[in-house]
Amino acid sequence: MVIEAGTAEDLASALRQASELGHAVVIRGAGTKADWGRPPQRVDRTLCTRRLNRILAHEHGDLTATIEAGAALAVVNASLASAGQWLPLDPPFADRATIGGILATNDSGPLRQRFGTPRDLVIGVQLATADGVLARAGGRVVKNVAGYDLSKLVAGSFGSLAAIVSATFKLAPLPKTTRTLIATAPDLDVLAQIVRDVMASQLEPIAFEMQTGNAAASRTIVMLRFASTPAAVDAQIAAASGLASLKASAPVVIEGDDEPARWREHAEGIWDAPGAVVRASWLPANVATVMRELQRIAGERRGLIADGGTSVIGRAGVGAGLIRVGGDSRDQAAFVDELRRSSAFGNVIIVRGSAELKAMIDVWGAQGDRERLFASLKQALDPKGVLNAGRGPL
């Protein structure tokens, strides 16, 4: 059964009822990430937030907005733009993804380089607990240390601790000008040098990405996006182009309409191609070792090479990215297992994968000494196990 809650109270009472009846509930926004996590064990009710889609407040003088969980980020940003502001997040499926889903998964994109992830921008939440109580934490001012910051606790919880009803975010002024420098590092040593040079420089890109359609090829595209006044963007582009490592990588400047189109292509490509999508992290300065390790692991599986290789898009300055893995489920499972064994990678999770793959290897991997803490948090906030249908990570 699908319930479309129209008010915070509706959402809370639907949860209260489910709790009383012992039903298992999953919360759904636009459904862009409905297949993430473990396959649900049993779903009695889907609680849909799409009707909770209002911007409750946009305090443009204070650079904050309070937004209901079901509002689509793109729609929100179209509205905030009228005041020259935005919520600077660009997660996958940003045209449809909802505020609640983005916060619950703490999902982000290239803009993370400058603005962080949703947990860095959220300043308050209204939650509906599994037993149907509405409660707030944080507030509507950016600077506030009163009480526990539960807006952070639900970030990354995948709807397993409470339902997000609405959230307040700090906003940013829309940049006046943006331009992007794209270069192609001919080999991994140059790539590593670019990462080190940019990180050690006083450049302040809003995005710093790397991308390779085929990790085995070693040629890696690097993208640096700058946003500021036109003169400042020009100066930064010039300074970046002057770095020896970038100079050696045929830098090209992209601006105007081409720029957003190129960024869309960058962000969407990995999702458009078939195969599993895996998220992994690494130390940014170790990128050459990391990519060689990836080549080694992928090279051991013939099925992966035959199926278009392994493509990567990553936040070069953060050390986090998405890896597309071809081949069959056995190849993919072995690949994930190898990544998890490698000391070059951390926090390897399956984002998109077939049921067969997810049956072979856990989506989340071992959580070590956090497991007990996860268990006690779950027990404290959702003792009857109403929420999330076992999709994890807790």
């Binding site: 939650l127 600077k143 240390v145 009480g147 526990y148 910051d149 003169a231 940014p284």
Partner: protein, 483 residues
């Protein structure tokens, strides 16, 4: 609670020199920088390692003895107030810098390392640690984690929570848990975000990895004087409205200016209001935006604008600002500082209410605040020798906090709730809100032994009331300032 056998067990863990029970020595630990809230602990224990902390916590759990983690005691909300007869775990000996990783822009330290020490470690490489509470020379990074400390530059760079990458934390049952880690994106709820700012009520943190930032290419600072506080406030709105996020925007009113002048002679113009605006970033950007800031100040009728030409001049401007709190002693025998927050756009209205309250109460109120993020630090002047004045100062402070809540703000922007403001929490949060937070707390600390009596409202004990400021020994000794 604590008996001889318990103390012997503590000594077994940390050695004889790691346990303080002498009543005179215990005096040091009776309070933090909110000295009117005092309690005498049964023992202070000084661990040297995370393993020591684990054993101490396990011992406390077994004997059901409450324990209070303490950094360097510079907190302004009584967050490190001992439980009478309980244990204080003083983390000052956990003061090693464990790792400096410049290429990956991170530093790992133990909680007793001072905030400024992190910057000292990385400054030679052109980096710094961004959160800059005014006590940064002496405050511990562990305390910063507990309080989610900010500082003048958090308008652009955020608070402690935005800069912590990993924590090792000892839970109330003695388990040592790694939260966050070497790699980004630890799956699951953001436990770093929960623990940072939990005021030591969820765990005792034993190591902290923070990210460090590259020094910006350019820093520009100006000091502008205005005839009215409203004009200063309008400049702030105009700057933000123009899409500029300064590194810092600070305001001081006439009383605060006078006090600062008397104390450190920053040569501020004697006006109703001064505004300090600092921009940083790439040179071309700072230059372009700084012009707009200057024009804005002129358009709003600035009486004077001083642009810092060099580091020395910038340092003098900041000295005047940073000295403002302690300088209040020059114009008033006693003062009490609060830490409320209002939405930036409501500043003029709330400041007006404070002015009216000042006239009504008969107590002078100086205003020094982080104007960029609406964080007020009203300094309520009183004379404790005049019967009733200290109490009136407390009432005035409480009323100012209620204005902040009315305006949609917060009880505290950076000092924490601690023991000082826990009684006011129901003004900001409903019973359901607080109950949910308590459920989270119970998940970490079911027996309520980890820093009890903080954050959440409890029936207050006699004498346990929010109270006026008295100079901290560190301030008296001239090693710490506050703002």
């Amino acid at each position: 609670m604590i008996d001889r056998a318990f103390l012997d067990d503590l000594r077994c863990i940390v050695g004889d020199d790691g346990v303080v029970t002498d009543p005179l020595e215990l005096l040091t630990y009776e309070c933090d920088a909110l000295p009117h809230l005092r309690a005498s602990p049964g023992a202070v224990v000084l661990p040297r390692s995370a393993a020591d902390v684990q054993q101490i916590v396990r011992l406390c759990a077994r004997a059901h003895v409450p324990f209070v983690p303490r950094g360097h005691g510079t907190g302004l909300s009584g967050g490190a107030l001992p439980v009478a007869g309980g244990v204080v775990i003083a983390l000052s000996r956990l003061n090693r810098v464990l790792d400096v990783d410049i290429p990956n822009q991170r530093v790992t330290v133990e909680p007793g390392v001072t905030n400024l020490e992190i910057t000292r470690q990385v400054a030679p490489f052109g980096y710094y640690y961004a959160p800059d509470p005014s006590s940064q020379q002496v405050c511990s990074i562990g305390g910063n984690v507990a309080e989610n400390s900010g500082g003048a530059h958090c308008l652009k760079y955020g608070f402690t929570t935005h800069h912590v990458l990993a924590l090792d934390a000892v839970l109330a049952n003695g388990d040592l848990v790694r939260i966050g880690g070497t790699f980004a994106d630890t799956p699951g709820p953001d436990l770093i975000g929960l623990i940072v700012g939990s005021e030591g009520t969820l765990a005792v943190v034993t190591s902290i990895t923070v990210r460090i930032l590259r020094r910006p290419e350019r820093v520009q600072t100006l000091l502008a004087a205005f005839d009215t506080i409203e004009a200063g406030g309008e400049v702030v709105s105009d700057i933000i409205g123009a899409g500029i996020i300064p590194a810092a925007v600070e305001m001081m009113d006439a009383l605060a200016i006078r006090a600062a002048e008397a104390a450190v002679h920053p040569n501020f113009p004697q006006s109703d209001t001064v505004l300090i605006v600092e921009l940083d970033g790439p040179s071309a950007e700072v230059e372009a935006l700084f012009d707009i800031v200057e024009q804005t100040c002129r358009a709003r009728g600035a009486r004077s604008i001083e642009v810092a030409r060099d580091e020395a001049q910038r340092a003098r401007i900041w000295k005047g600002r940073k000295a403002a709190f302690a300088a209040m002693g020059r114009v008033s025998p006693n003062y009490y500082v609060q830490d409320g927050v209002v939405p930036r756009t409501r500043l003029p209205e709330v400041l007006n209410r404070i002015r009216q309250l000042e006239a009504r109460s008969g107590l002078r109120i100086g205003n020094v605040f982080h104007a960029g993020d609406g964080n007020l630090h009203p300094l309520i002047c009183y004379d404790e020798r005049v019967p009733g004045e200290a109490d009136r100062a407390v009432e005035v402070a409480a009323e100012i906090l209620s204005y902040c809540i009315d305006a949609g703000g917060s009880l505290t922007g950076e000092h924490g709730i601690g023991a000082d403001k826990s009684a006011y929490m129901p003004q900001m949060f409903s019973a359901d809100d607080l109950a949910l937070m308590q459920r989270v707390r119970a998940a970490f600390d079911p027996d309520g032994l980890c820093n009890p009596g903080k954050v959440f409202p409890t029936p207050r004990l006699c004498g346990e009331v929010p109270g006026p400021y008295r100079e901290h020994p560190l301030e008296k000794a001239g090693v710490a300032e506050r703002w």
